[in-house]
Structures are given as C-alpha cells and as structure tokens.
Symmetry: C2
Subunit: 153 residues, 2 copies
C-alpha cells in the first residue's frame, strides 16, 4: 500500500470531498443554502422529534462540541427550534419548525440527485455493494471509534 | 434513499471521520504529529521531487488556497523545503528535507496499521472490492468535480 491512491484513508478523503462538492452544487442549483450535515440533522429530527442535542449528535455521529454550531445555525435560519424539556427544565429538546419541514421536503429531490451523482460511475449492483461495504466497515470500526453512532433513546 | 444511513454522502462522511480518527490514533501512538493530508503531501513529494505548489495540490486533490497552509506547516516543522525554481525565478519548487524523509519512513508502519484498521471489518476480498469501487466512483466523478486530481507534469 505504498501508493497513496490505493489507501482507504486517501480514497475516503477524496470521495468525501467529491460528495460534499456534489451536494452543494445540487442544493444550490435547487435554491437551497444547506450543508450536508445540516440536512442530515433536519432529516434525523423529523424521524426523532423532541430529542436533545447529545442524542442528535449521537444519531448523526457528530461530536458534541461541533453539533452546537450546527444547531445554532439551523435555529438562526428558523428551521429548527429549541424548547425546554418537559422532563428536565434545565435541558433543551429540539423540534423542526414548519419552515424546517418545508425545506426538508423541498430539498429532497436535490439530495437524491446528489446521491445518484456521487456513484454515477458505478453499475446499480456495484452501488448496492459499495453501500454494503461502507456500512460493514463503519459498523466494525464504530465500536472502537471516538464518536460512535448511538441508538435513539 | 430516505434513510440517511443508506446515503452514499452520509456513509462517506462517517467513513472519512473514522479514517481520520484512526490515522491520528496510530500516528500519535507511534510518536508522530502529522495529519493525513500532511502525510500524503510528503509521500507525493518523495515520488515527485521538485514539483511546485499547484502541481502538489493537483496530485493530492487539494484546493490551491488550503494547500498553502499545509505546506507552511510542513516547512515550519522542517520536513519540507521551498526553493527557487531553476526554470522560473518567481516560482518555488518543493523538496523533502532529510527530516521529512526520516519522518515519512518512520511513520510508514503506523500509516499501514491505520489503513488496515479502517477496513478491519471486511474480508480481504471485500477490501479489494471496496478499494476498486472507491477508485471507480472517484474516477467518474472527478471529471466533473471542482478539484480534479491532475497527472504529474
């Protein structure tokens, strides 16, 4: 593995770079100003309304220190709202706003187009295998990783 | 693809996150303070001594504005040296220093251990296929990407 172009680490960085560039191109072309992580945060919040910041960080595998900035920007944009937790008045829970839900639904075709473009060079069966290998490698590594994805409470 | 955990973009971010964390763990454990991109920059410079900054940026698929910071840090660490180009006195060319070569050789076992850990959850044949699919997807997307990898001059 002395040639860096065969190294999983280099390939991971390169593919991630391409994935982010394609996401931004498709989102902008559809008239949306949303980063990939902001999109995933909104999508997860639709599936799990009322979770707290730490749970959201776990579900999208983002570290707790940087998730705060992601949430701040989504709140500023009016797409997400913080509310006092019904169980613990010192804690906050997160909800999508109506604008957040509309953005999530509006951007969906662009997000799906972006996902297709990222793997446009692969045959359909190869895409399935690529996703399976990603998930298998990630699942095995997550057990030892610093920022493991956590199940919803 | 409504579940984000099946989206290539989400999987790419997650795998890249794991790859960077594992690289740092292995490099630190071996006593080296080097980021993945700094490592790749040194490795490419060993293969292509005397290239200029823009060529290095192209070879590691890094954009020209941020490669400057990577090179600055490597020069500060004494691992890379800038010299006036023999062909164009206004241009700089890059070389590894002796310390840079020693670092590159010293860190190599940690880098290889990191690469193996990133895909430790896959069977050997799956690793080969994963790398093949990465390269195929990247090659197809690179033609349309903003930061294409360029061949050496």
């Amino acid at each position: 593995m002395h040639d860096h172009s065969d190294m999983p680490g280099h390939l991971a960085r390169r593919f991630q770079q391409i994935a982010v560039a394609i996401f931004h191109e498709e989102a902008e072309a559809a008239g949306f100003d949303l980063t990939p992580v902001q999109y995933v945060a909104l999508a997860v919040l639709r599936q799990h309304p009322g979770i707290d910041q730490a749970t959201l960080a776990g579900l999208i595998a983002y570290d707790r220190t940087t998730i705060g900035g992601v949430i701040d920007r989504l709140v500023q944009k009016g797409l997400m709202a913080r509310a006092i937790s019904p169980k613990d008045r010192r804690a906050h829970v997160l909800h999508l706003t109506e604008a957040g839900l509309a953005t999530l639904e509006g951007i969906q075709p662009a997000v799906e187009a972006a996902q297709r473009r990222m793997v446009a060079g692969l045959e359909p069966a190869e895409v399935t295998e690529f996703i399976r290998l990603f998930r298998k490698a990630i699942a095995a590594a997550t057990e030892r990783s610093r920022v493991p994805a956590k199940p919803a409470p």
